[in-house]
């Protein structure tokens, strides 16, 4: 029995495309405890959304879990059928996305859509559902909710649509909210509102949050722990302070170095990560970051670095941090 709220164990998930197998997740292990906020960062295509969907028991065609396990709230997600999964989704775990327009139905009013979520998962009747919908809109900071429930999604601004999505996601007070780039399409001042709302609701309702983003600034202020993904692997994971101040993996270091610092008086040249992101159809052998890594060694090109633990919760997969083991392997080679 796992004691974590989410416990992903050695998950391998591939998309079997006509062009070949895309190993979207390559041995991902992650956990999340109740009430915790975990940030997941990484570039486009690194596997953030696929990981999140796997927790919900969703794998888009032609994808398949090849091996490994996802345990959520005591359920072994892989062993459940669609009907059982539907009971969990929306009730125990909810997800919000980057573009609320694609998840909201344009032909139904905002009220209809929130009420539907409530009716699906609770014993409430229509009138009670309507009252709850108004209460939820108020909870997510929408003024005049009695008026808003009669409106259609296109009549709302981007920020308000995201609030509506959050209201739907929270309809049944889930234990886990997965937010997949929830503010990428929003302006910074609206982003600040939504992020503050998510944190406020988390504190009020005591739910856990997985926050997927490519913005290191967002995770720095909101998350307890951060997982950094690259090419379908969690290459480093630790507390927010571990990741920012005790950085171990060369990719994480590169990422942190490459963002401009607003508060430096003299702009110094940015330190870019050279090269291009991994072609997931033809990933390199060994460490996936090797072709772009300034510290790349011989062994990096051949063998996938194993995880090394720096503490109970800080680990990374990089040969450099494992000098001792590396020397061992190097001896064997020569």
């Amino acid at each position: 029995m796992s004691e974590h709220l989410v416990d992903i164990q050695n998950l391998h998930l591939s998309f079997f495309t006509p062009a070949g197998e895309v190993k979207a997740l390559n041995d991902v292990s992650l956990f999340l405890d109740e009430g915790e906020v975990l940030g997941v960062v990484g570039e486009s295509g690194s596997g953030k959304s696929v990981t999140a969907s796997a927790i919900m028991g969703i794998t888009a065609d032609p994808g398949r879990i090849v091996s490994g396990k996802v345990i959520f709230n005591g359920h072994d997600i892989g062993s459940l059928d669609e009907k059982e999964l539907r009971k969990i989704r929306g009730k125990e775990v909810s997800m919000i996305f980057q573009d609320p327009m694609t998840s909201l139905n344009p032909v139904y009013t905002v009220g209809n859509q929130i009420e539907e979520a409530i009716l699906l998962h609770t014993e409430k009747n229509k009138q009670e559902a309507k009252e709850r919908a108004i209460e939820l809109l108020r909870l997510v900071g929408i003024n005049e909710p009695e008026k808003r429930i009669k409106q259609y999604p296109h009549e709302l601004s981007g920020g308000m649509r995201q609030r509506v999505m959050i209201a739907i996601a929270l309809a049944c007070e889930p234990k886990l909210l997965i937010a997949d780039e929830p503010t990428t399409a929003l302006d910074v001042t609206i982003q600040a509102q939504i992020l503050e709302l998510i944190m406020e609701l988390k504190n009020k309702l005591g739910m856990a949050v997985i926050l997927i983003t490519h913005d290191l600034g967002i995770v720095s202020s909101m998350c307890d722990r951060i997982a950094v993904m690259y090419a379908g692997k969690v290459i480093e994971c630790g507390t927010t302070d571990d990741i920012f101040y005790n950085t171990k993996h060369e990719y994480t270091k590169g990422l942190l170095r490459s963002v401009p610092n607003l508060y430096e008086e003299e702009s110094s040249r940015l330190i870019a990560i050279e090269g291009t992101p991994v072609d997931m159809l033809n990933p390199p052998a060994g460490c996936p970051f090797a072709p772009r890594c300034p510290q790349c060694m011989k062994i990096c090109l051949k063998e996938m670095p194993p995880y090394h633990e720096f503490s109970d919760i800080h680990y990374s997969a990089c040969w450099l941090t494992q000098k001792a083991e590396f020397e061992e392997a190097g001896k064997g080679e020569e």
Partner: protein, 336 residues
Amino acid sequence: MMANQDILVEVQHLKQYFPVAGSSIFKKAYVKAVDDVSFAIPRGTTLGLVGESGCGKTTTGRTLLQLYEPTAGRIIYDGETIFDSGLDGKKVKANMLPYRRKMQIVFQDPYASLNPRMTVGDIVGEAIDIHHLAASREDRRDKIIKMLERVGLNSEHANRYPHEFSGGQRQRVGIARALAVDPEFIVCDEPISALDVSIQAQVINMLEDLQHEFGLTYLFIAHDLSVVKHISSRIGVMYLGKMVEMADSNEITFHCCHPYTKSLISAIPIADPKISRASKRIVLEGDIPSPVNPPSGCHFRTRCPYATPLCAEKEPEWKEVSPGHFCACHHLDQVK
């Protein structure tokens, strides 16, 4: 900014109003996308423009290039007035062809801005052809390859199509196309917004190198103030079609005075937990109002924590609060 600086590009009281589709012909409604904006960019420097989506950044850039005919205002390029709606009575509309070569644009979306049916070589070559910059076929080919190499691509790439490239590489193609005609001034409209963090720094570095190498002048548009601050010498902050504050980059970052700029800066997530945990965010109430029907007086008053009845009655004046630092707000003495 010094009065004796060599100004390459200047706009005065620039306006760009778009008619609202479906509005009555008797009482036409307009989106005042750019409403009385003025600035000057010294040669070889970068002016950054920031603000939330729909505030008029792109429209400012495109109007300045006269991709849209300005509704009103004056545009001065390298000392020549190339457009004047008659601010002092005299109308000017210069032939833009010679200026098209000198003034280029790089777009936000490297996917949409490149013709999918043209090879990368022809995309870069097209600009060279339009302005008759190649003496011969060999010369054309040499120029294309030189440009591709300059932006970190190579001669092999010339025969490939845009879809064969990653986002960052496509943005390099867009930059090569702009550079191929030997411009002096480039409007960079969100050139890195569509790119991954690890690729953004590559493109920023390249734009900076090219600026030094060719003495280029940029108007750099982005919504990410950290990036704009990094690349710009001066920054203008826009809100609903108006410029609300303008100053040197460090001045804006450390001593901004407009309430909107303050909230914008405080809303930027800082990638340093010690700083971001300690800093207090000013979270603005409410949404950005529609530009079709902006609030009276100061456009920002519906979200401004300092607003008074005066702000609804009267538009604040554009004042110089310290040398080179301009701001439009009635209550600067109260803003903290």
